[in-house]
């Protein structure tokens, strides 16, 4: 059975935001929205779950802090203790003040870079990916709504037109 997908193209972010709410209120599922910039409140309107990216960043940051401290403890206290400036530094606690700057830098390093990697992996963004939106104008000034049809194309098209779309396209997908 061939499936059909309907593209509703809008030229205003407020109009598409309202359209998303109206169409979802009618019980239809919206598969995707492509936009040239983030639309405030669209994730709620689409029923997307909040992202957990910030939580991962916190965990990565804690990992960085722990590994940094472990490294400095091993190198300065355990493996080769050195007397620097004649100050007592043979225990971790005595030497801790000097470890704070690098501990902080490594926290940020891990939190930022691993979060960015997580983001790229989760969004499947990588150099060489040729994915684009169904209409190139969505990185310029157009907003596109994608709805999969299961034999109810006419109803969806009418609904999309009603919500203020400037263009409606229909496409077969395998």
């Amino acid at each position: 059975m061939s499936k059909k997908v309907i593209y509703g193209i809008y030229d205003d972010d407020d109009v598409i935001l309202k359209a998303v709410k109206d169409i979802r209120a009618k019980g239809l599922n919206i598969d995707e929205v492509y936009s040239p910039f983030p639309i405030h409140g669209l994730d709620h309107a689409l029923g997307l779950k909040p992202t957990r990216l910030a939580i991962t960043s916190f965990i990565y940051g804690c990992t960085g802090l722990f590994l940094g401290m472990l490294m400095m403890w091993y190198m300065m206290i355990e493996d080769w203790p050195m007397i620097i400036g004649g100050k007592p530094n043979f225990t971790f606690v005595e030497n801790l003040p000097a470890f704070i700057p690098i501990g902080f830098e490594l926290t940020v390093f891990f939190a930022a870079h691993l979060m960015v990697l997580t983001y790229l992996i989760r969004c499947k963004l990588y150099p060489g990916s040729t994915e684009t939106s169904p209409d190139p104008r969505t990185t310029d000034d157009m907003f596109l709504m994608e709805v999969e049809a299961h034999g109810n194309e006419a109803e969806i098209i009418a609904l999309i037109k009603e919500t203020g779309a400037v263009e409606v396209k229909e496409e077969k997908i395998a």
Binding site: D13, D14, E32, V33, Y34, S35, P36, F37, P38, I39, H40, G41, L42, D43, L46, L48, P50, T51, L53, A54, S57, G61, M75, M76, D79, W80, M82, I84, N89, N95, A98, F99, P101, I102, F104, E105, V108, F109, A111, A112, H113, M115, V116, Y119, L120, R122, C123, L125, P127, G128, S129, T130, E131, T132, S133, R137, T138, T139, D140, D141
Partner: protein
Amino acid sequence: MHYESPIREPLILEDKTLHDITEDVARPIEGKANKWWWALFLFALAAFLWGAGCLAYTAGTGIGVWGLNKTIGWAWDITNFVWWVGIGHAGTLISAVLLLFRQKWRLSINRSAEAMTIFAVVQAGLFPIFHMGRPWLAYWVLPLPNNFGSLWVNFNSPLLWDVFAISTYLTVSLVFWYMGLIPDFAMIRDRAVKPMAKKIYTILSFGWSGKAKHWQRFEELSLVLAGLATPLVLSVHTIVSMDFATSVIPGWHTTIFPPYFVAGAIFSGFAMVQTLLLVMRKVVHMEAYITIKHIEYMNIVIMVTGSIVGVAYITELFIAWYSGVEFEQYAFLNRATGPYWWAYWAMMTCNVFSPQFMWSKKLRTSIGFTFFISIVVNIGMWFERFVIIVTSLHRDYLPSSWTMFSPTFVDIGIFVGTIGFFFVLFLLYARTFPVIAQAELKTIVKSSSSQSKNKSHE
């Protein structure tokens, strides 16, 4: 939705639509370079090549070719290092701190300011590496076990903290910048007609398509990265200042250094942003986005941070007197009245006196005057680092070793070379990258553009 009072001055002029923004940002990339660009580029390239030659000479012969002597072991190189790192700070401040404070005026300038940050930190990094004398052994600063046993790097040394701070700062700024660039590269990709350009921007845009979930993650990512970059940028110059503050040299051994260096960094960074953007907005026709209002806001930052720096200078003098330490007192007296008095007073004039003109609305909204002051501040901040470093060293505890510093042609050549390298990178950037964060700028068309303001008056 973001609401803004109609009385507030618009941030986007000339009634730009979403499509106009796309066109304006893509134009410098798709068009051909004019002769001004080529003239500047070749000039910068020549300076860069001269500097590269001087660096090669230094690496081949040794740092004896610099003007350093046994009293003054740090001079132009570390001055230039601190100067360039400081310049970098404005980019992160604009993109991260202003994001956290929800300052929408950052949107037209953050991309170029971040580019400036990255290019400036690249220049800064060259100096400590070449100061090592054997730059091919630069990896020895990393915590690697050496060949002779398990002797490690010294984690109690601020110079090692610097290694971690600068490399974290450079790499985090780079990914922060690049994550914001992805949607804009996708815009360039989607309208590219030449096959080569299409291919390049396809690779650069990582397959961005603007899905709702991706935008949701993008916004969270930007916010968290800004939250991380804000303490990071403060820590970087704090640690740079500790290179000096943790030593026992009079004039360096002061607790005021971290906040004073951070304020100075922001001050010099904003001056460099002004220098670059005042030219760029004209050359690539971004006058509608980088408006007089933006320039005025930046001038206010320059005025405030310049005054903070001024307070720091005076506090240093007061504390030197109040401490009762004669070495400390002499160091500051010598700065202001000794053989380097001209450097001290150049610093005072450029950094404390000149930004006070910005109290006048007329002057801070004048493009020509702003450009002039931005150059003055750049010079003044270079002198600040020179004064701190050289005047504190040239008269040490042993009067028989008192001396002066005079740079050789290699010192000058390397400094000029880094300026050339910086401009080479910036000019290439201005022709191939979207110079305005257009995707994010488009979010304020409805609230802060002249068009929307006119509508709300009707």
